[in-house]
């Protein structure tokens, strides 16, 4: 058999391999956020098992240091706390007081770590950040309960996933201010409530 014939005979098999490779690649990339065993939510849950939540429902994370970090690539100058939500058990109500001077932010994440909403101290109204996370039905119920004309202080967010977490970040300008930043995180309150 001539080499050219051999090549032609080989082509469909190579094509099949390439097509399968493409399918496997696409499926594995799309599945990774769902099945990755050490995604952000799983890491935070592992910390919760060890130290539990504060009496205000916040997981207070240690200052990032060698061998002592809940999540990778977190800033050692930022005090960090986390709250979990599970919409099957109710909406998450998060309230954090902002003292105004330094950066303070709350971000909402899916289990994979993807952000879907964030509020920082500049957008906080009345010295506090108030967020309610729920699904479309729960948020609708809340809106139905609203009193006409009353000022709405909380930020209502429809979550793209049933479970997830909120990260509370307080920036400490100097190492001596880190304890104060941690106290600010610890003063936040998270509760699971029925709308």
């Amino acid at each position: 058999m001539k080499p050219s014939e051999r090549l032609i005979a080989f082509m469909p098999w190579a094509g099949a391999s390439a097509l399968l490779a493409l399918i496997v690649h696409i499926v594995s990339v799309l599945l990774t956020p769902v099945i990755a065993p050490r995604a952000a939510l799983a890491r935070l849950k592992a910390v919760e098992v060890v130290q539990g939540l504060s009496d205000k429902g916040v997981l207070l994370l240690p200052q990032p240091a060698p061998g002592e970090q809940a999540l990778p690539f977190e800033d050692p100058t930022v005090a960090l706390g986390a709250c979990f939500f599970d919409l099957d058990r109710g909406v998450l109500r998060l309230r954090a007081v902002v003292d105004g001077d330094d950066f303070f932010g709350v971000s909402l994440h899916q289990p994979s770590g993807v952000v879907f909403q964030a509020v920082n101290d500049r957008a906080a109204s009345g010295g506090a950040i108030e967020i309610v996370v729920g699904d479309a039905r729960q948020i609708d119920e809340l809106e139905a309960q609203d009193v006409e004309g009353a000022e709405k202080r909380e930020v209502r967010v429809t979550a793209p996933s049933r479970r997830g977490f909120a990260l509370i970040r307080a920036f400490a300008k100097r190492p001596s201010e880190y304890a104060a930043a941690q106290a600010l995180v610890a003063a936040a309150r998270c509760e699971t409530a029925q709308p």
Binding site: L20, A21, H25, V29, A65, G67, D102, F103, G113
Partner: protein, 210 residues
């Protein structure tokens, strides 16, 4: 020996009438496809966070990580590394894996980081390993912030990165061989879509190696 024969059979079209050869070929094509697909996934997830990388000199960031509509590669890379990124309204993290000449950062070398920082309300500059963990060192200092850093008249500053103690602003990579530098900007004062250039970012210059 049998393997060689099987391989030769695989390459032979004349033998294709033999059903066993077809099975062998189909199995080989499937295995190759599976392997190639997984290798492609591993390679793309190692490289970064998908599309839209913002490069400025040695610094790179992925601004779309702060949005809800990230691409599938970014989602997969985040989940696989366990990272929870800063939202866009919070800030933007830049990582340098090399110095300004493009050479990989080496724990045995001394570097001087100087120059401007893009407009932002606060920033912090930290050393970490490639997986995002702070580096163990004797000083137990892992980062500097924009507020605490010692500045010269006019506001310019420099940070020495070295295993040996240095006067002024000094960060130590400890005994780590390789490391990365993370510059986090909080309340960013520019639009990431503007892609301001490398001249607005700190330079990282290698001074020498021990």
């Amino acid at each position: 020996m049998t393997r060689v024969i099987a391989w030769r059979r695989l390459g032979s079209v004349a033998r294709l009438r033999d059903p066993f050869d077809r099975y062998l070929r189909a199995a080989a094509a499937m295995l190759a496809g599976l392997l190639l697909g997984f290798l492609l996934t591993v390679a793309t997830l190692r490289g970064g966070y998908g599309f839209g990388e913002y490069v400025a000199g040695p610094w790179s960031a992925w601004p779309q990580l702060g949005d809800a509509d990230t691409d599938p590669y970014a989602r997969a890379a985040l989940a696989q590394r366990g990272v929870a990124p800063l939202a866009r309204s919070e800030g933007l993290a830049f990582v340098a894996q090399t110095d300004s000449s493009g050479a990989a950062l080496d724990g045995g070398c001394e570097y001087l980081l100087s120059g401007p920082v893009p407009p932002t309300r606060f920033w912090s500059l930290a050393l970490s390993d490639a997986a995002g963990a702070p580096l163990a060192n004797a000083t137990q200092r892992y980062a500097f912030t924009s507020s605490e850093i010692l500045r010269r008249e006019g506001g310019a500053f420099e940070i020495a990165i070295s295993r040996e103690a240095r006067a002024g602003n000094w960060l130590s990579p400890g005994e780590a061989r390789g490391f990365v530098i993370v510059l986090r900007l909080y309340d960013v004062g520019f639009d990431a879509a503007e892609r301001i250039g490398a001249e607005r970012f700190p330079r990282i210059v290698k001074l020498g190696c021990s």
